[in-house]
Subunit: 201 residues, 2 copies
DNA sequence: TCATTTTGTTACCAGTCAGTATTTTATACC
DNA sequence: GGTATAAAATACTGACTGGTAACAAAATGA
């Protein structure tokens, strides 16, 4: 993705690494909340001047959008992999429970859910990307549940779509509770309870 | 609570009604989000000058605290009444489901949950009150579940405390979804599903 | 009439925000 | 050397934030 074989061009050589700045921003957004981290603070943390950031990302929306793209590549892909590679419903749900309630990456919550919760504060590009990812996740959850339904184990009177929304929101709730410092063991207990509705005999 | 028999005192008579200003602020906070409503905007909406507001409430923290107190009196009391007056577990859960998924007062969400979600942005007084109310709610939920447990219908292997947290968070999730424009019928479906774990035979 | 008290009004404070114009610096090309 | 080019650094803009000082207005009490 990055040209790390920089054939020399005219002009002052660049000292700022956009990927590094993006990662600094992601870390700050992720640890606290995107709404609580200013461009000024990111520049200070990254040791760069503001115009350099604006040259690389164009606007705050451009930065948050780049951060979200990278976050999707590096973190959300794990969830999509679980959904696509799980062996059966119970196995998939167990993997999701493990990830949400125990994975150290979710210790300070999920940056995507934080962005989604404050969606109205985001710029248009980032907001559109949030909605796109949300739709992808809903589809992935629905695919898993449709598979279970086809296999014959499905609670009566529940639509796959509603089940997918329910599943996604329960995961979001569990991870958001991680961010607020709730005891992981209790989070696991509650998430297991919430998802038991899919597998009661 | 208010002295509406104002025996004349010295000084210029007051034209500002603090209760009205508080209600204007509550409405604005409730419709959108406390973090998105500035003191300046409230003054403009209420048609008063900033020093008048500060004379009445002392600080932004004082105002949000007064708003939360009033909200607890006028709205949260409904939930506590449901919890205290419900006839049996299923009846109580049904009433909670009705309130969360259909009551028009929750159409733009719950101000308390909005404050709790942005707790770190609140002043110390308001934050303390949020935590106090949260503890009261947890206790009220636990009392209902303890009653059901004493009556003999209780799912195996679940502590009352964890059940109470689960119940509270499911209500919060449902109401937060109301604020984000989710279809009330689907919210009801999902909340019913989530709370069915308490009453499966 | 005149001082006292309490309110409302105006204009301001310092700080922060996202974003940018301007200048300085470091390189490549000739 | 000199020139073109692109990046970095500094300093700024205008808007907004919570909060307040200074003053004007409206009442009471003497």
């Amino acid at each position: 993705m990055n040209d790390d074989n920089p054939k020399p061009v005219r002009g002052r050589p660049r000292t700022m690494n956009a990927d590094t700045v993006r990662d600094v921003a992601m870390d700050a957004y992720w640890r606290t909340d995107p709404a609580d981290v200013s461009i000024n603070a990111i520049c200070q943390m990254a040791g760069i001047a503001k115009p350099s950031l604006y040259r690389a990302f164009g606007s705050e929306d451009g930065l948050t959008r780049a951060v979200l793209d990278s976050y999707a590549d590096r973190v959300l892909s794990v969830v999509f992999a679980i959904l696509q590679n799980g062996e059966g419903l119970q196995d998939t749900l167990d993997a999701l429970i493990d990830f949400a309630s125990a994975d150290p990456r979710m210790e300070t919550g999920c940056l995507f859910y934080k962005m989604r919760a404050g969606k109205h504060r985001l710029g248009p590009e980032t907001r559109a990307r949030v909605e796109e990812i949300d739709a992808m996740a809903q589809a992935a959850y629905a695919a898993v549940l449709q598979g279970a339904r086809d296999a014959g184990n499905w609670p009566g009177g529940l639509s796959v779509e509603a089940g997918a929304t329910y599943l996604g929101e329960q995961i979001a709730l569990a991870i958001t509770q991680r961010a607020s410092g709730e005891d992981p063991a209790r989070i696991r207990e509650m998430l297991t309870l919430a998802l038991s509705v899919f597998t009661r005999q």
